[in-house]
Each structure stands twice: as structure tokens, then as C-alpha cells.
Amino acid sequence: MSSLSLRISSSVAANARSESDHRLRLLSSSSPTVATSPALHFCGLRTEALKLGAKSNRWKVVSAAVAPQDGSASDEFDYDLVIIGAGVGGHGAALHAVEKGWKTAIIEGDVVGGTCVNRGCVPSKALLAVSGRMRELQDEHHMKAFGLQVAAAGYDRQGVADHANNLASKIRSNLTNSLKGLGVDILEGVGTILGPQKVKYGKVGSSGNVITAKDIIIATGSVPFVPKGVEVDGKTVITSDQALKLEFVPDWIAIVGSGYIGLEFSDVYTALGSEVTFVEALDQLMPGFDPEIGKLAQRVLINPRKIDYYTGVFASKITPAKDGKPVMIDLIDAKTKEPKDTLEVDAALIATGRAPFTKGLGLENIRVETQCGFVPVDEHMQVIDADGKLVPHLYCIGDANGKMMLAHAASAQGISVVEQISGKDNVLNHLSIPAACFTHPEISMVGLTEPQAREKAEKEGFEVSVAKTSFKANTKALAENEGEGLAKLIYRRDNGEILGVHIFGLHAADLIHEASNAIALGTCIQDIKFAVHAHPTLSEVLDELFKSAKVGRTGSLGPEMKSSPILHWLKSTSLVQVWHLLLSKFST
């Protein structure tokens, strides 16, 4: 389903800008009457709906036109497209290639589904589903507020682990079946590029089978990055690969790295009764998040929990537990490299990021040099060789190119490549790709952080504005007793372009898509603020957010507005009332 919606949005994206420009012009030409003439808005929305309808019709026509070619690769090559790696990226690309009517093969040396399905997003969501419930059941105050009485909540570790494992198997078989069902050949073994348009696959060391393909996509993904000095034994010093199997729940676990992975695992482990110590090399926890969101997240996800942390330190040496001694972690100052402390814990989880998995790909055969293991690519994901030239018919998507190490980014890149190969110029807008961290509550984001936006604004000379709404004002969130949360919109004041949206709160990961779709489609705030949201839903957090943004020249507020917030409030409420009145008129 997700690939389907992405496909539509990317096909629309090409023309989106001209459409929205058109609509803008339409609105602005009649702007003096906008407030009093909702009919125009309804026209606008309706035409948009019609346009979208037309678009998808057109799309169907296109696929019908190419359908007869189905399954018949050109005589020169064994396949139209060979994808190395059957993770989420390869899967997305394969599905889209099949839609184009291409003969497609996918080479997988391990298990279908890759990191995400087997050792990443999928099983971790199973564990987080458990941790969320545990957390809720253990929160007496929360339960009491509902009037619920729950006897001591407990868990069966094996049962939890089985849930994660079963989910991974289920999604893996779904993925495999969808590939098979669509006629994609799944070739087992390690894929190696022998030369242009030529790939060998088979067990390592065996002679293997050589196939040719018109185009090749590298989608080999990544593996957990383990810094030097760290000895991973898979039992007491582990990476996410082992942690997801949940073979034991340590009393005290150190998590090295406080990014998405570390944060999610801290949520799981603390809910299951562990105490956690974060070791973060940078000066603050949760680097990479918008600072304001990070700060709030720290207040909710770190400070009240059984978690402490060391920032600005490297774990220079980690020794697994043995001979009755605990796991030893030597900490050194990240800047001065002086020894700072030694931790003795029951387990250590290495969550310092992920390293590309590109060894044995045979890149040397086509004169491609990796950069820190990553395959260099251009904006179309086409591979660049050592001389800086594009390698024809060779692309690399997903974690292996390091542009954005997210499963859905890989899939989007794969679809973009297929579009590109089929002759449609397609550049994926990475700023429209959302990201989420599935803690309780969740964190999600799309686009730029506030500092990034301000930097960009300085360079390009526009004014950045920030709007914020709280979950405390949302009926649904309050009904769930989950009022803790913040949504933050970073936008261009002059034209209403959305630069970034960051959400911390209940179901933030599901809420971000309204914003990411708006960015992908180039929808401006002044348009999206008129979209209607069901009441009462969490989506109204974003509704409020867009409505609270002020687009237009600075100081456009009248002096009387500035001086009197009450007047402002009165005006806004009366506007809302007028709007509701008109809405009800039109809906009847």
C-alpha cells in the first residue's frame, strides 16, 4: 500500500508545482473576496480533486499501454532490471519495475526483507508495541485517571520475543509472496557486478551464474556500525541485530548512541524493567532532532525514566562480560581523548549508526570507489565512478548510498530510479521524506530543523517563521490522557512554503504525513489550512498548526491587533464561526 501511495504522489509531483502555481494565481486574483466567498474555495478544492482524479486516470492509461510488453525482456539481456538486495528498497523498485512491464530479478544473499523487515523497523515495532502497553499499564497515575484498576502488570520475555519474531516472519513471507506473485525472479546468493550490465550471483566461492541486465540497481543496505575498540559477543555486548531477539533483559544496559535506534531501545528496555545509561559522543542527547523537540523529548523520554547519560564521551573500549566480571566500558572525552570514567554494566547495546554493506559487490570491476563504504551517486541515484563519471545503467539506492538511511527513503529512491530509467526525469525530494522514532510518545519530522531553516534563510534571504501547537489543546489527545506533545511548523513567511514539521506526541509518526505530502506536492500553508479534518482526531493538531501560521509580509498585523490579544482572539473565533457557518451551509 505504501508504495502505491508513494507512486501516485511522485507521479503527481512532476506537475504539482505548476498546478499549485495555477491555483495560487486563481486565489490571489480574487483574494479581496476570499474571506467572504467560500464558494471560490470550494471550487478550488473541487478542481483539485478533479485534477487528481484525472491524473490517476491518466496513470491507468499509461500502465495499460505498457502492459502488453509484460515479461518479455529485450533479446540482448536476460533481464530488463536486476536488483541486488531484496530489502525494502529493492522490493519497492521491483514492484514498480513490474508495473512498467519490465522483466525483473532480485538477488538476495540472506533473507528477503533485508534489515528493516528482519532486523530493524519491523521487529522493533513489535517490541515497542509491547513496551507501550507495559508503560501504560505500569503507570498507576495514568490508569487512575481513566478510572481503571489493573493488578500488577508483568510480561513473559519469550512471549515478547516471539511476537517480534513472528511479526518479522509474517512480513517477510508477505514480501516474498508479493514479489513471486508479480513474477519477479528471486535469485539466491551474493550478487557481484562483473562488468557493465553483467552480474554474477551464487554462494560465495562458487562459480555462480552470470546474468545480464539492461539496468542494475544496487540495494545492498547496511549493517550495524561497530566502532573500533568494541568487542561484540552477541550476548552481553550486542547490536540491534541481537537486541531485537530479546534473548535477555539485563538489569542495567548501556546504550551507546542516542539516535533513533538507541532511543527506541531505551523505550523498550525501560518498559521491561531495565535501567539504561546512554553514552553519547556529541554534547547533547538526540542529536539530529530539532533542538526544541529534542529538549522536550528529553524531558519526557529520558529524565523521568530510569535512565542516566554521559554526553561528550566516546566508548573507547567495551569488553563483554566474562569470568564473573561485568561488561566494562571505558569512556574517554570526545574532544581531549582523556579517560573519563569506566562503566560496569550487565549489557551494552551498540547503536552508533549503520555502515553500508557494499563489500564483495565487485565495484572495482567497474572502477567505482566507495566513500567510507558508501557508493557515490548523483541526484538520480546513478553510480559515479572513480573519475567522477556516471556509470551507465548502474544505480544505487538506500542505505548503500547513504543519502538518507531509512527504509521508505530507499523504496522511494528505487521508484524514482525506475521512473528515471523509463525516460521520465525524476529527482526525489529528500526533504519531503518523513522520519519517525517510535518511542512513547512518538517523534516524527520532515524537512528542515529550525537551525537548518534559519541557516538556509540567511543564505537565500527570506524570513523564517515558526508556529507551534500543543497536544494539550487537542480533544482526542486529552481523551487518551496523552496531552504531552508539541507540533512545530517551520515555514517561509513570505510565500507560505513549508520548510519543516516536527511532532512530538501521541501517534506523531502517523501524523507527519499530512506535512510530508504537502511538502512533496508543493502545497503551501495558505492552501492546506483550508483542508478539513475530522473532529475529534489527533490530525487536528496539524490543522491547528497550519491555521496558526501567519503568512504574508512582516508586520501585516494591524497595530490594534498587536496591542490587544483579546481582540485578536475574538476576531479569530468569529472568523472560525463564520467559517463553520458556511461549512454547514455547504455540506447540507
Binding site: 538489569d251 542495567w252 535501567e275 539504561v276 545509561t277 526544541e292 522536550l296 524531558r299 529524565n303 530510569k306 535512565i307 542516566d308 564473573g324 566480571k325 561485568p326 569506566t342 560496569e344 550487565d346 507551534k468 500543543s470 508539541l486
Partner: protein
């Protein structure tokens, strides 16, 4: 996220929904401010505000104003980070920010001074010298002593005790941590560290019981509890004073600020009002053997000890009307027409004084029935005003707890109150030179000396003792 808070007297937010305490009913702060102004005219302390009900300390994120800046009311002065959020804090007072006592990044306990506000420019220098001489306000203990929340009671009072605990625990701890390379380092789990900070326990003195000698949460809790019980030991070691479990086993969340209930508010007002009355106390020891015997005899008829005491008191008051009088305006006093004995009863969340009206006239059996009815009503919080505020003399009995003597505060509007202790077998020398055993109880009357003098009380008590020691009149 940043919310604006208006400030009351000093820096007490008045418009925060998170804050349950209404600043206008926060006398401690007023007192503190008043005191300040009497000593040091027009220099106000700016306090760390309580921005949420769970906030115990706040961090200064940034000072919006700097020293010497002119402040007009409504302006943001400082951004404070609480356990929940960053909030801009504004002032209701015009003046000059004279001295910042807690720098940015510093932490201060709720209620401690973080800056001084001078009303005029001339006073800035004076305020600054003051800021320099006053003890570092970021240290919580002196601040806590002056904290407005002092009145809240147990949770806050526990703090100094816990501080003492840190010292006392030291004696019992050995420094051997198997997990810490022979005691070189302290190995404590993250939660243990958090708890230690909260409970003010020095981890260096805690023996770890976790894996490989690591200090875990329960060790810290045990150390804190041990500290508290050791500290509590000096007044009177008692076998029943089991180690106080600090993480509230009683369901009380320690460290919270609890607003007064209506009843507590009323009691508080009355207690403060009582300070305007000059009182004195007279005690007396009364033998109760005869009363006990009588009680035993008529107990089966539903007579209660409280009713007997009330009856005895009422009969004594008949002979000493001045003790049953009351002075309200300080210029005259009233001989009350009826003898209404109010008896203090502890009920859930406070104290109430149901009144036995005309206790001198009503017979003991009716009085006992009436008493039972009143107590039931009090427990159900259904007492009518005339049933609890028409007392002319008050009885307070803590004898059932084994209290042998205490002293009571005179309720405003009455002339006297009698504190009754437990009747206990006592070895006494009798007048004929022998030593015998008698049940004795001590009573202690607090009275308004504007109208009731020592001799009045003394003769009243003598009469009362006679009645109790020869109680035949109680049953007519």
C-alpha cells in the same frame, strides 16, 4: 511552549492552570515580603516560582533582563525551566532588577530568592550589597527554611530530616564495593543515582546489594529510610517506630505542594487568629478511680467517657461562670447563658468540634446519645453550623492515644479549652503516709487571660477535680 505567567506579590504565578495554590491565599509569601519591607524598605526578593504542582526546584534558563534594567509590571524577567517546560516569568511590580543571585544555568529551590528587585534606582546599590552578604541562595537548605511552602507540612518537613540522614548513614557504611576496584569508584545503577539525588543520600556511604556489589534503587531507599529512622531516634526511641519508608507507603507523594482543603483553610485562619489572644495555662492532676468505676457501671447503658467528662466539666462551669465567658472585642466580655461543651474530634482531613449544648442540664444518658449522633454526623460531614460553632468551652482529649499531657490552642471566641490526658495507674503517696496506686489523669486548661485569671482557673479545676473524684452528681 513558553507560557507567560503573571506574578503576585513577588514572583508567584497567579494565572497558571498548572498551579493549584492560589497566590492570594498564600500568606507565607506575604509575610515574607512584609518582613522584608519592614527591615529593608522597598527591596523585594524575587523568588523561584512554583510553576507546577510537582516542581521542587527550577533552573534559570536565561535572564531576559540584566542587572540594573528597569522593569515595568507585566514584563518578562526570567525564563525558568521546570520539570515540565520553560516558562517566561513576569513581574507585577515596577522597579529595577538590582541583583541577580542565581546565574543562568543555576538551580534554585522553589521559594528561594533568585534576584532582588529595587523600587528606585537609588536602592540598587543597597540591594546589591545585600545580595552579596546573604548566603548563596542556590543552596537549597537555607532556602527551604524560608520557603513559603513550609506550611504544607509533612512532605516539606521531611527534607531537613533527610539531610540529616546523609550524615548519620555514614557511620554504618563500609566503603567496600566489590564492583568498583576495591572501593575506588562508586558503581550505582541509573535509577539508584536518581533516587539518591532525590532523597539526598550520599552514594559513597551506601552498601550495594546488586549484582557484583552495585548499588541499586532499593539500597538507596533502605539507606534513606535508615537515615530517617536514625534521625528520628533522638527524641524517644520507640519500638513501634519502624523504619519510615521514604517512598510514601502512606499514599502521600513526598515533595508535593498540597493546597488546603476548605477545612484546613478554616483551621489555619482560626489558628492564626488565636495568636491575638493572650493565653495562659493551668494544669491539674485528677484521680479517676471513682469516675472509672462509675463508667464501668453505666457503660452498658450507652454512656461514653466523653459524655462523662463533658458533664463533669459543665457542672464545674456552673459554679465558675467566668470560665464559661468569652471576650470578643477586648473591651467587654459575655457571661454565656448556656454551657455548651465543644469536643474536638479528629476526622479524615482535619478536625471538628461538635457541641454538646446545655451539657449541665441534659442528663448523662441523653448526653451520651447526643454525642454519638454528633460524632456520626461529623464523620459523614453533615454537621449543621449550630452543631459545631456554638461551643462556649472546649474539651480536647488525646488520652486514648496514651498521651499523658498536652496543651491546646484556645479557639477564638471562647474563654477556655481543656486538654485531657490519659488516665493512668500511678503510684501516689496518700495523706496517711502510705503509698498507694491510683488512676490519675492530667488536665491542662488554656484560657483567655483578658477575662479569666489564674485564680479563676485554679478554683474551677479544684471544683472539677472534686466532681470527678466524687462523681455521684453526674448521674443525678
Amino acid at each position: 511552549m513558553s507560557q507567560l505567567l503573571h506574578l503576585g506579590t513577588s514572583f508567584v504565578p497567579s494565572s497558571s492552570t498548572a498551579l493549584r495554590r492560589n497566590p492570594t491565599s498564600s500568606p507565607a509569601i506575604h509575610i515574607s515580603g512584609n518582613k522584608r519591607t519592614t527591615i529593608q524598605a522597598k527591596i523585594r526578593e524575587i523568588f523561584m516560582p512554583a510553576l507546577s504542582s510537582t516542581m521542587t526546584e527550577g533552573k534559570i534558563v536565561s535572564w531576559v533582563k540584566s542587572e540594573g534594567d528597569k522593569l515595568s509590571k507585566g514584563e518578562s524577567v526570567v525564563v525558568v525551566e521546570s520539570d515540565k517546560a520553560d516558562m517566561d516569568v513576569e513581574t507585577f511590580y515596577d522597579g529595577y532588577l538590582a541583583a541577580i543571585m542565581v546565574e543562568e544555568g543555576g538551580v534554585a529551590a522553589v521559594g528561594s530568592a533568585i534576584a532582588l528587585l529595587a523600587e528606585t534606582e537609588d536602592e540598587i546599590a543597597e540591594a546589591r550589597s545585600k545580595a552579596n552578604t546573604s548566603p548563596s541562595s542556590s543552596s537549597p537548605s537555607p532556602a527551604a527554611a524560608a520557603a513559603p511552602e513550609k506550611a504544607v507540612g509533612a512532605p516539606e518537613k521531611a527534607a531537613p530530616v533527610k539531610a540529616a540522614a546523609t550524615v548519620t548513614v555514614a557511620k554504618m557504611a563500609s566503603s567496600a564495593h566489590p564492583a568498583s576496584e576495591g572501593g575506588k569508584r562508586i558503581v550505582a545503577s541509573p535509577y539508584a543515582k536518581k533516587l539518591a539525588k532525590e532523597l539526598n543520600v550520599d552514594l559513597g556511604n551506601v552498601i550495594g546489594s546488586g549484582p557484583m556489589g552495585r548499588i541499586v534503587a532499593k539500597d538507596v531507599e533502605a539507606a534513606a529510610a535508615a537515615g530517617v529512622s536514625v534521625a528520628a531516634e533522638d527524641p524517644k526511641p520507640s519500638p513501634s517506630s519502624a523504619p519510615v519508608k521514604v517512598p510514601a507507603s502512606t499514599g502521600i507523594e513526598l515533595g508535593t505542594v498540597v493546597p488546603f482543603t476548605t477545612m484546613q483553610g478554616a483551621v489555619s485562619r482560626n489558628m492564626v487568629d488565636s495568636l491575638t489572644v493572650p493565653t495562659f495555662r493551668v494544669g491539674y492532676t485528677i484521680s479517676t478511680d471513682a469516675l472509672d468505676a462509675l463508667y464501668k457501671k453505666i457503660k452498658s447503658k450507652g454512656v461514653t467517657m466523653t459524655a462523662l467528662l463533658a458533664k463533669a466539666t459543665a457542672l464545674a462551669l456552673v459554679k465558675h461562670p467566668v470560665v464559661n465567658s468569652s471576650c470578643r472585642d477586648g473591651k467587654s466580655f459575655t457571661y454565656n447563658s448556656s454551657i455548651n461543651i465543644a469536643v474536638a474530634v479528629a476526622i479524615d482531613g482535619g478536625l471538628i468540634t461538635p457541641v454538646l449544648q446545655d451539657a449541665d442540664k441534659v442528663d448523662i444518658y441523653s448526653l451520651s446519645r447526643k454525642w454519638k449522633e454528633l460524632v456520626d454526623k461529623a464523620r459523614a460531614k453533615q454537621l449543621q453550623p449550630h452543631e459545631y460553632n456554638t461551643g462556649t468551652f472546649t474539651l480536647s482529649n488525646l488520652g486514648m492515644f496514651g498521651v499523658d499531657r498536652f496543651d491546646a490552642i484556645l479557639p477564638p471566641g471562647t474563654g477556655a479549652i481543656m486538654a485531657v490526658g490519659a488516665s493512668e495507674p500511678t503510684v501516689v503517696a496518700t495523706k496517711d503516709g502510705r503509698i498507694g496506686m491510683k488512676n490519675q489523669m492530667q488536665v491542662n486548661v488554656t484560657a483567655d487571660h483578658r477575662v479569666i485569671y489564674g485564680a479563676d482557673l485554679a478554683s474551677f479545676l479544684q471544683t472539677l477535680a472534686k466532681i470527678i473524684e466524687d462523681p455521684k452528681d453526674l448521674t443525678f
